[in-house]
């Protein structure tokens, strides 16, 4: 493993040994493949805040600026032409600020120029790695594999190579259709959930999203690129990525209401950024927070909160969509493995593919569900699994009830057997990258298991309610964005000598859109506030995954139908709202100069992703039917 590099002093020239060259290879491999999160033993630094990377001229220079060069290096932030380098004494302490020293390393001039040109949110320029043997005076460099070979050998290197080095697509801000100050249909919240703290939070997020996201929404859609370098660490700075994460891990420790408020404002500015935000902060981070061990949380949550890393959740497969539990083919088998240090470690080997993974191409952390058939054979009688949710599973024979295990993986450590297969070309939500992930016998140690082995179903189920609730604020933002476009338009556009907003048929559209938005907003935040209140009353939101209620408190369990009906209603209303918006704009609504077409394409996703409308209806109906049976 990479962190074993600590064992080797780098003040003296590295000796040619198997282990060391493997280390070097891995390091280069990771750099060639993607931006590896920093702790690197060969003297190159990747800065995730800017997506940039540069090398020291020589190993001497490296040890000069870094007196304790055997410790891993990590670049955290960059201010005023300097980047701050933090040395974590141990890998486990990365993110623990108490135990680090800071050094200032001047940035390459290219980066500074770049920053000045485009202001605060300057896109960092990606620096190509150069072959080191010419500049590095280290005598051993010739004994290491040349990097060009490594780069071409890496299976996913094509991905990083294909990324254009310029950020021209980002530089021109487009028009925004709202003033960053107002929201329609606030009235339904004013007396209930929207106190001064929350409206302060919402105003803050809105002001940011209006200024830094909304002008680029069209460019993000057109380029179909995820603005990681430009936006993600800024969102981390803003504090929204960890809005529901505990303070101890760098989050704000707030509830679902705040999470929904943020999701809505981001989606209003750009629905695709909203979706990526949901996948990152809710699907991935909430699952880690809910089920992860203390060590996993300490390791993974701080960089996810700060936006240095991007998170994803991998559940669906090509053959396992609505029937995700019954049809899941990705499997994990217990395998022991000898590590580079020579010790025998037990772990799991994961095999299979995951499809339609939001944030997949960019993910540094992936929560993956896999079947563990080895656990199924001898545990059939003791199984206390929660009811399988999907509709078709009830028709399957009982003995085929699968046992899942959840894993949380750091993609940078998975090696070449993990790869991003292809970025998918989508109808909408362009810029929120989606891909297929391939696990070709990827070995992970035991500590990658999220929760307990064999209890992945409960992990999966426990996350779905919060997932539906938070994602349902996405269509809310889209509906708001529709009104943002339509209201000024109908005032300005004149036909028959008067603004079209004065025509009753057009006013009927406004009334329908407003009613849909107000109903959705009241519904969403009503449920969110109830769940929050109950969670606070209970205190401990997560009973152990092994408990019979499937990792959810039974009181919270009854909100399952409500969470599903919120997103069912919001998603369908948002699509209708976007259609109305197009109709209201007439010919202008149908062309791409106006955002209504994009809003429609984006809105449709919420009727499909995170459970189709059909599955949601079945779920709600079944919950209601079963509850009525229980009360009889």
């Amino acid at each position: 493993m990479l962190w074993l590099g600590r064992a080797f002093g780098f003040r003296e020239a590295p000796k040619h040994s198997d282990v060391l060259s493997r280390l070097w290879w891995r390091c280069c491999y990771h750099h060639a493949r993607k931006w590896y999160p920093g702790d690197c033993v060969c003297g190159c630094i990747a800065d995730h805040r800017t997506g940039s990377e540069w090398r020291f001229e020589s190993r001497e220079r490296y040890t000069e600026v870094c007196p304790d060069a055997r410790t891993p290096l990590r670049v955290f932030s960059r201010q005023h032409g300097y980047c701050t380098v933090e040395h974590a004494l141990k890998r486990e302490q990365v993110g623990a600020v108490a135990s680090v020293t800071r050094l200032e390393v001047p940035l390459p001039s290219g980066l500074q120029r770049n920053r000045e040109r485009t202001g605060v949110l300057s896109p960092g320029k990606r620096f190509r790695r150069e072959v080191s043997s010419s500049s590095s005076s280290s005598s051993s460099s010739s004994s290491l594999p040349p990097q060009s070979t490594v780069a071409s050998a890496g299976p996913a290197s094509a991905h990083s190579a294909s990324a254009p080095s310029t950020s021209a697509w980002w530089t021109a801000p487009g028009p925004t259709y709202y003033d960053g100050r107002h929201t329609h249909a606030d009235e339904v919240l004013l007396g209930t959930v929207l106190d001064s703290d929350r409206s302060g939070l919402r105003n803050t997020v809105r002001a940011f999203a209006h200024e830094y996201i909304a002008p680029y929404a069209a460019a993000i859609d057109e380029a179909n690129r995820f603005p990681r370098e430009q936006l993600w660490t800024e969102l981390g700075n803003l504090g929204v990525l960890g809005v529901a994460t505990a303070n101890a891990y760098g989050g704000l420790g707030l509830g679902l209401v705040e999470h929904c408020l943020v999701m809505e404002e981001l989606s209003r500015a750009s629905p695709s950024i909203g979706l990526s935000y949901g996948a990152h902060s809710n699907l991935c981070m909430m699952q880690i927070e809910r089920h992860g061990s203390a060590a996993q949380k300490e390791r993974l949550l701080p960089p996810l909160c700060s936006g240095v890393w991007v998170g994803a959740l991998a559940m669906s497969e090509t053959g396992a969509g609505s029937d995700v539990l019954g049809s899941m083919r990705t499997s994990a088998y217990q395998r022991k493995r000898t590590t580079a240090a020579g010790e025998l470690r037990s772990g799991w080997s994961i095999r299979g593919t995951k499809m339609w993974i939001t944030n997949g191409p960019d993910a540094d952390v992936v929560v993956v569900y896999a079947r563990t058939p080895e656990l199924e054979s001898h545990s059939a009688s003791t199984s206390t699994l929660a009811a399988v949710e999907s509709a078709s599973s009830s028709s399957l024979p009982k003995q085929s009830k699968p046992k899942l295990t959840a894993f949380v993986l750091e993609t940078a450590q998975l090696g070449p057997r993990y790869r991003v297969a292809q970025k998918l070309d989508k109808l909408g939500m362009r810029g929120s990258n989606t891909c297929e992930l391939v696990f070709d016998d990827v070995w992970v140690p035991d500590d990658a298991v999220l929760g307990e082995p064999g209890l992945g179903t409960t992990v999966l189920m426990a996350g779905l309610d919060a997932e539906r609730l938070v994602l349902s604020a996405g269509p809310l933002g889209i509906m708001q964005a529709c009104l943002d476009v339509v209201l000024p338009y109908v005032r300005e556009r004149q036909q028959f000598g008067s603004p079209i907003g004065t025509f009753p048929l057009m006013q009927a559209k406004l009334a329908d859109m407003y009613g849909a938005l107000a109903a959705s907003r009241a519904h969403t935040f009503g449920v969110a506030a109830s769940v929050d209140k109950l969670t606070r009353q209970i205190g401990e939101p997560t009973p152990p995954a092994s408990s019979k209620h499937g990792g959810l408190n039974p009181q919270l369990r009854r909100f399952r139908k409500d969470c599903a009906s919120v997103i069912l209603q919001n998603a369908e209303r948002a699509t209708q709202c976007a259609l109305q918006a197009i109709q209201a704009l007439g010919g202008n609504g149908y062309i791409s100069d106006y955002p209504t077409g994009r809003l429609l394409r984006d809105a449709k996703l919420y009727e499909i992703g995170a459970g189709t409308s059909e599955i949601r209806r079945i779920l709600i109906g079944r919950e209601l039917y079963e509850a009525s049976h229980a009360t009889k």
Binding site: G119, V120, D179, G180, R181, H182, S196, D197, G200, L201, T204, V205, A207, F208, E211, Y212, N237, L238, G239, V240, V243, L252
Partner: protein, 273 residues
């Protein structure tokens, strides 16, 4: 001798948000401000940002304290919270609820006038012992553009107005500032203590982050009354009448110059050829 310290006082004003469309009251005595969204005056945001940037550049040793102050009703606390979230250490609210601006005619809805605000800030300065006062060049509600100049006069301090650049000189109590004047940029060197007022191109106020927003809740806001400072708010002005700007008249777009000439001749503006 240690380098001189900047003890900064920033004045912030709560105004009706710039995005709000205001309405005149039916009796034409002023603007109806009831239930309108308010926020910090944008020029005051520039002043807060300038103070925070000064500390970032010089370090906390040379800028040991940044205090934000506002003169107005209790609702100004919200505005002061914004300043605290931007990086100000603590805030002082001079509450005018108990002793509103006395006016025989219009009642209590009046704002304190620039002269009294300047007097209040001067009294506050003697309490806080600040030696640098940063203000916005004007407020977007009354556009008076007086407080900074009056304050500098009351305190008999150096003043720099309409600033587009502020630089502190090393190891000295001197500031080098650029003023935006009609002829171009005027560069001044000021000796502390100074009153500075900020113009639009000075900086770009930072966005507030949620952690800072939550941290701001724990920072102290001291509330004083005008009598604590020995200031009485009075009216020196009499607002005769407030009207909306005249509505634009119906515009006709003409296609050619000939049409224009014909139209002007028809209206009697141009002589007929």
């Amino acid at each position: 001798m240690p380098p001189p310290c900047f003890r900064v006082l920033v004045g912030v004003k709560r105004v009706v948000d710039y995005a709000v469309k205001v309405r005149i009251t039916p009796d034409h005595s002023g603007v109806d401000t009831a239930n309108l969204k308010t926020s910090m005056n944008p020029f005051c945001e520039l002043a807060v940002e300038a103070a925070v940037q000064l500390r970032e550049r010089l370090g906390p040793e040379r800028v040991p304290e940044i205090v934000a102050a506002s003169v107005g009703p209790t609702a100004c606390q919200e505005t002061l919270r914004t300043a605290l979230a931007m990086g100000v250490d603590r805030a002082v609210l001079v509450n005018t609820d108990a002793a509103p601006v006395s006016d025989s005619k219009a009642g209590s809805a009046l704002q304190p006038e620039p002269l009294d605000v300047a007097r209040t800030l001067a009294a506050l300065q003697s309490r806080l012992q600040s030696n640098l006062i940063l203000l916005g060049k004007q407020a977007i509600d009354d556009d008076s553009n007086q407080t900074g100049q009056l304050l500098a006069g009351i305190l008999n301090w150096s003043q720099g107005t309409f600033l587009s650049k502020i630089e502190a000189e090393k190891e000295q109590d001197l500031l080098q500032v650029d003023r935006e004047v009609d002829e171009g940029i005027e560069r001044l060197r000021l000796r502390l203590p100074s009153v500075l007022t900020c113009d639009l191109r000075l900086n770009k106020p930072r966005y507030i982050t949620l952690p800072n927003l939550m941290r701001a809740k724990t920072k102290p806001i001291e509330t004083l009354s005008t009598s604590d400072l020995g200031v009485a708010l009075r009216t020196y002005w009499q607002i005769v009448r407030v009207d909306e700007p005249p509505a634009r008249r119906q515009v006709t777009m003409l296609k050619t110059v000939d049409e224009l000439v014909a139209k002007l001749q028809q209206l009697g503006v141009l002589d007929r050829a």
